[in-house]
Amino acid sequence: MKVAAKGGWLPLLQPILAVAAGLAAGLAVAGLAGESPWHVLKILARSAFGSPYDLGMSLFYATPLIFTGLAVALPLKAGLFNIGAEGQLTLGALAAAAVGALFPAVPWPWAPLLAGLAAFAAGAFWGFIPGWLRVRRGSHEVINTIMLNFIAAGLASWVTLYLLKNPASQNPETRDLGAGYAIAKLHVFGDAPVSSALFLALLAAAAVWVFLWKTVAGFEVRAVGENDVAARKAGIRDGRARILVMVLAGGLAGLVGIGEVLGNAGRFRLGFSPDFGFIGIAVALLARGRPEGVVAAGLLFGALHKGSADLDLETENVTRDLSLILQALVILSVSADGLWDWLKKRRTAP
């Protein structure tokens, strides 16, 4: 096995241990709050995996997290930190909904394709801006992506409330899509809104893997992330590589819109994302920037998100916010590199 050849099971063990440690610490917090940790764990598990519907909901939440996880992980490979997935996915979803509302007559196979391209393009444009600013003007992508999140939120409000307002709804949403835009739901999961967008997410992860490890452009991106001076000396245009990953990352985040708009709501709903873009940062960090890890971490965080939803109802002393605590603790234990190295050294020391 390939993993075994590159240093055995240790690289895989770390995230698993980190998740376990984070969960244990989180449950201990629940214990401190006066709730039996075992009870909380049971609720989490049952709520996330207890029935086909629950499983479907977990997968429904996992879908956007895989996209946003990739949108953070890919720029990480080039040494860039994309905090802007939230804004990118907002505009992606808005663009998909706008296309669907403005051209309702487009028939089925073309309609989702068109909406998907629009979602990708809108997100990609929102990724291009901070990429370009970083390369040409030297302003830091972290600041700019954070700022662009606010701008995207404002833009989405304006478009939703003033340009494409749904006259039939009390809620801040856009007009409905045409009938041709709906994508297939996965009916094995009952009423859960999980759709074929899940497969698109898996496909996207595979595509990112191929891009990074098999293509010339991916090699250039990794070289820039590893050592940009050496990359430049080797004739790699590091600026172009940086802009490219930000464009691709924005596009990937934009694809969240497919699952939400085409697969679930049938329109753009303001505030539909419970910070998928930010949880994507956690997903990418847990995955240590690897696409295959993003899939695993996305599924985990999706399950966590669903699982904690029932905590409000079924416990006295903890709320769904426990999932935030759990996420934070998992990230903390993943990033405890020093501790990890220390453990490893003790193993190899004579």
Binding site: T215, V216, F219, E220, R222, A223, N227, A230, R232, G235
Partner: protein, 524 residues
């Protein structure tokens, strides 16, 4: 204490890092008041042994005796307290501060009347410290300006500040790591005078070095390390450069690359015309009105102390686009204008003309240290057939070419999977050379090609550069090692403060004449 008690004695020191036995059964006796050279290739274990002596590593086994007493310490500060100090290869000085401030920092004293205050709040006794420093400087002949910011002082003076720093802390045993790497020949001479004076005053000096000629010039005794062990321990008086070299490498080496007759001057592969570069921060121009050419089949050496515009020249040759706005003049390479007026070629296009580059700083500019040898071989070749096919990397083609190259260039270990950062300096350099020669360059830039590589690799690298010349390539050699410049170059240009201040043909220059120009001597 008699002179017979060694100042330093190491008995059977062992040190292991993971699977690597870095030091095995190290024995060493250093006579008080002597200059003792520690030589060995990179990775031979000489630094490890010195770091144990200096308190940076703890030995796994064995004992350290200082002036006859067995000692062990947990940190360098304990070693300093015991009188052992180290001058690192890269100086540890704060540039904007003057010599007194730099030396006293960390060892501040205060007048007795402030004793009642907690240590951290006592005012520093600057006048007392300064008086003591001036006395020490006079005693050991370490002349320096105590008031100027150290960044404005010459490298040789900065080194004296480092030595004085140790003396101020009452060090009696001084370890110097590659002390001459950054010095001009004249500064090296002065350093040697200072070291002899230190010994005459009873200090003991250990020098870690790989420059065998300097060992012969200064050391009383030589200890040779190879593969983690001591393989030779002899008085300098009974040995020679050749003997030391073969002890270090474990076989006979041919040190000076025999200078073959200069071939006919061919076409210009590089033509630099009235090139100037303005500084990005104002002040002096790092490059001023440079004109020279390199022709096919010749090696042009640029000599100079580091920081006299060589780095900027290399940057301009390879990245003219980034400097277009700040530069003047023209560069033509292999018949193409790569910098002329508003036109400038991209790096990839320049390299595609047939330019190979051995960068100055292989870690920063040449390698992806955490990536495997395979990807490092690919770096820069990745856009070319057969390695790139329709946008995809052909791993099969890379693998077979890389395997052949590391065989031909003797990169050890023979593994494509090991991370480049895990190779020794010499093997990293051979990997870079393998990669750059893969494109059969017609113009080769070799910047500090043998810096920090072992003797065996130096020989190999020099042979490879000479072979490139024999095959008709033009070579621009930038080096601060005068031996290298003198042995390889058909023409020598000396750079000082961004200008070419002297030009020599093969055989016309000596270390002395180059040294004078390198120090700006021809101006004063």
């Amino acid at each position: 204490m008699t002179n017979e008690t060694p100042a330093v004695e190491l008995r059977g020191l062992q040190k292991r890092f993971g699977k690597v036995q870095a030091n095995e059964d190290i024995h060493l006796r250093v006579r008080r008041g002597s200059i003792h050279a520690i030589i060995g290739e990179n990775g031979a274990g000489k630094s490890t042994a010195m770091k144990m002596l200096y308190g940076m590593y703890r030995p796994d086994a064995g004992e350290i005796r200082v002036h006859g007493e067995q000692r062990s310490w947990a940190s360098p500060s304990e070693a300093i307290a015991a009188g052992i100090g180290m001058v690192h290869q890269h100086f540890m000085l704060a540039g904007p501060y003057n010599a007194v401030e730099n030396i006293v920092a960390g060892a501040e004293t205060s007048e007795p009347r402030w004793r009642w205050l907690p240590r951290a709040f006592r005012p520093v006794d600057a006048t007392g410290a300064r008086a003591r420093l001036e006395k020490l400087a006079r005693q050991y002949g370490l002349e320096m300006n105590f008031d100027a910011p150290v960044e404005e002082l010459a490298v040789g003076v900065q080194q004296r500040i480092e030595i004085l720093k140790l003396l101020y802390r009452d060090a009696s045993i001084l370890i110097l790591d590659e002390p001459t790497a950054v010095l001009t020949p004249q500064e090296t001479e002065e350093l040697f005078v200072n070291l002899r004076k230190l010994c005459a005053e009873g200090k003991t000096v250990l020098i870690i070095t790989h420059k065998l000629k300097e060992v012969m010039a200064i050391a009383d005794h030589v200890t040779v390390f190879r593969a983690g062990k001591v393989v030779g321990d002899i008085p300098r008086a009974g040995t020679s450069v050749e003997e030391l070299a073969s002890m270090m490498v474990g076989r006979k080496v041919n040190l000076t690359a025999a200078p073959p007759p200069p071939p006919e001057r061919g076409e210009a592969v590089l033509d630099v015309r009235e090139l100037s570069l303005a500084s990005s921060v104002g002040g002096k121009h790092p490059i001023q009105n440079l004109s020279f050419d390199v022709r096919a089949g010749e090696i042009v050496g640029i000599a100079g102390v580091e920081g006299n515009g060589q780095s900027q020249l290399l940057q301009l040759l390879l990245h003219p686009r980034a400097y277009r706005k700040r530069s003047r003049g023209e560069i033509h390479c292999l018949g193409q204008p790569i910098l002329a007026g508003k036109a400038a070629l991209a790096t990839a296009a320049i390299k595609a003309l047939g330019v190979g580059v051995i960068p100055e700083d292989r870690h920063r500019e040449g390698l992806l240290l955490e990536r495997p040898v395979l990807e490092n071989f690919l770096l820069g070749l990745h856009q070319r057939a057969p390695f790139a096919r329709r946008g995809f990397v052909s791993l099969k083609a890379v693998r077979s070419a890389a395997a052949r190259a590391i065989e031909e260039y003797d990169v050890r270990p023979r593994s494509l999977e090991v991370a480049a950062g895990g190779l020794s300096g010499g093997n990293q350099q051979k990997l870079i050379i393998a990669r750059e020669f893969e494109r059969s360059p017609r113009f080769m830039v070799a910047a500090q090609p043998t810096r920090g590589v072992d003797v065996g690799a130096i020989e190999f690298i020099h042979q490879r550069i000479l072979r490139a010349r024999a095959e008709g390539a033009g070579v621009l050699l930038v080096s601060s090692e005068l031996d290298e410049i003198l042995a390889l170059s058909d023409r020598i240009l000396v750079m000082y403060e961004g200008r070419i201040v002297a030009r020599f043909n093969r055989g016309e220059a000596t270390e002395q004449s180059l040294g004078i120009h390198m120090g700006g001597g021809s101006h004063s």
